[in-house]
Symmetry: C2
Subunit: 238 residues, 2 copies
DNA sequence: GGGCCGTGAATCCTATAGGAAAGATGACGC
DNA sequence: GCGTCATCTTTCCTATAGGATTCACGGCCC
């Protein structure tokens, strides 16, 4: 488990960062399920490191909402988003991200537009298989698109607000085991946003972003219906 | 529930939390100034604890934006907000908090309104001297008012967005050495928001909150002009 | 005089050890 | 059979030690 000659993932960098990414990958992959206790010592043994970096990584993960911390009782994996929570997340994104797009459009420059275009191109060529390692690059490109817009506002508090939602983390966590389901639609909508920005029309950019988030919400709702009307009423298995 | 449950375990607490509060107090008090390096070992020696809790406390403080972390070079105190950044903060708050107030108003109950009223009462009787220890209770009551509204939305992502701004942390940090300057106005505006909520008028609640944030912004701008002429202009995004 | 480089101190990062509390397991008594 | 209690294991939390790295300072060379 820890002895794998092929992966010497103990490099000369901050170990806490490596642990952070590893735990994040396991969370995305579904290896760690909702409510699982995330023991500090246990994780340290499993990864072959000491508890100190694990402690620091978990302290940072806590701010993402993926893990929850009880005062003297350790960390636990945050429960998967329920349908209502997913809708809440989309409502919050609808408040913040269209606004970001509008502001960013007023400050758009050619280099910025090119970066957006590049992220869309990366999105097109990224695989989107069922495992997190498969769709990781897709996830990164998608996140980069939205983050670029948030950062382009020039307002670091809007960036912080966008970050705090953890929209992509929570959304893509639901893809664990199934893969990205709405790649085609997402790429189309990203392109529409970019075009509105190219035209220099802030109102159109806002509307395009709102339409995109709305589309994500609708598709997420449909997926949630398809997979399982789970967790609302825990019916005993016959 | 049980108020008189054993008190013995209360004295046992996580040391990292105490370190967190202590560093926060020093930041608020101005004992730690912008750009100061915040050495882990040094802080540990100063507080008489080991580096491990300090490390965890700093990792959590990083998400508040009060300290910044360089990969292998330690932590530093984040620079004080410039005039432009303060305006950016208020712009972000104007996006989020009026919306929160509107949603919260639609779900207001008597207990919620009473809690709001209580926070305003606490605000009235709280001292607001120059040291952080003086206006700490004022700060807590003010923060509680806004947080109650955010939490009343029932949308934890809106709460997270509100948290991420760190509005009160940054705003009150500027009060270090001078004390709260706008207590009277703030109390009045809080009362107006509460009255709108009592009337059950979401649009009025939104407007009252927007007026409050606008008032805070105007007063902060005036203070900034008094203390130091704004030399820093909004710099273009990279 | 200015730039480059070696040495030393300070600091960060990680590992290990031990005390304390919570939870689990099993035995005992009713 | 069921509740209670003692014991044990697990886990969290803190302290300490040591390797690795960075920054500062002084000397040396051009």
């Amino acid at each position: 488990m820890n002895e794998d000659a092929g992966r010497a993932w103990v490099q000369r960098s901050v170990l806490a960062d490596q642990v952070y990414k590893e735990i994040l990958a396991q969370l995305m992959d579904g290896k760690l399920e909702s409510g699982d206790p995330l023991s500090i010592d246990g994780t340290a043994r499993e990864l072959g490191v000491s508890p100190t970096p694990v402690r620091e990584a978990l302290a940072r993960l806590e701010s993402t909402g993926l893990v929850v911390r009880a005062a003297l009782r350790g960390y636990r994996v945050a429960p998967m988003l329920s349908y209502a929570e997913l809708m809440d997340l989309m409502a919050a994104r609808l408040l913040i991200e269209p606004h970001n797009a509008e502001i960013a459009c007023t400050r758009a420059e050619e280099s910025f537009l090119r970066e957006l275009e590049e992220s869309i191109a990366d999105l097109r060529q990224a695989p989107n298989g069922p495992q997190f390692s498969d769709y990781r690059s897709y996830w990164e490109a998608d996140e980069r698109f939205h983050r670029l817009i948030a950062e382009r506002t020039g307002n670091k508090f809007l960036v912080a607000a966008y970050d705090s939602l953890g929209g992509h983390v929570h959304r893509f966590r639901l893809f664990g085991g199934t893969g990205v389901g709405d790649a085609r639609s997402a790429i189309e909508e990203h392109t529409l946003i970019l075009e509105a920005m190219r035209r220099g029309n802030p109102a159109a950019a806002r509307e395009a972003m709102a339409a995109h988030i709305g589309g994500v919400r609708a598709r997420a709702a449909r997926e949630a219906e398809l997979t399982a009307p789970r967790t609302q009423e825990a019916r005993p298995v016959p």
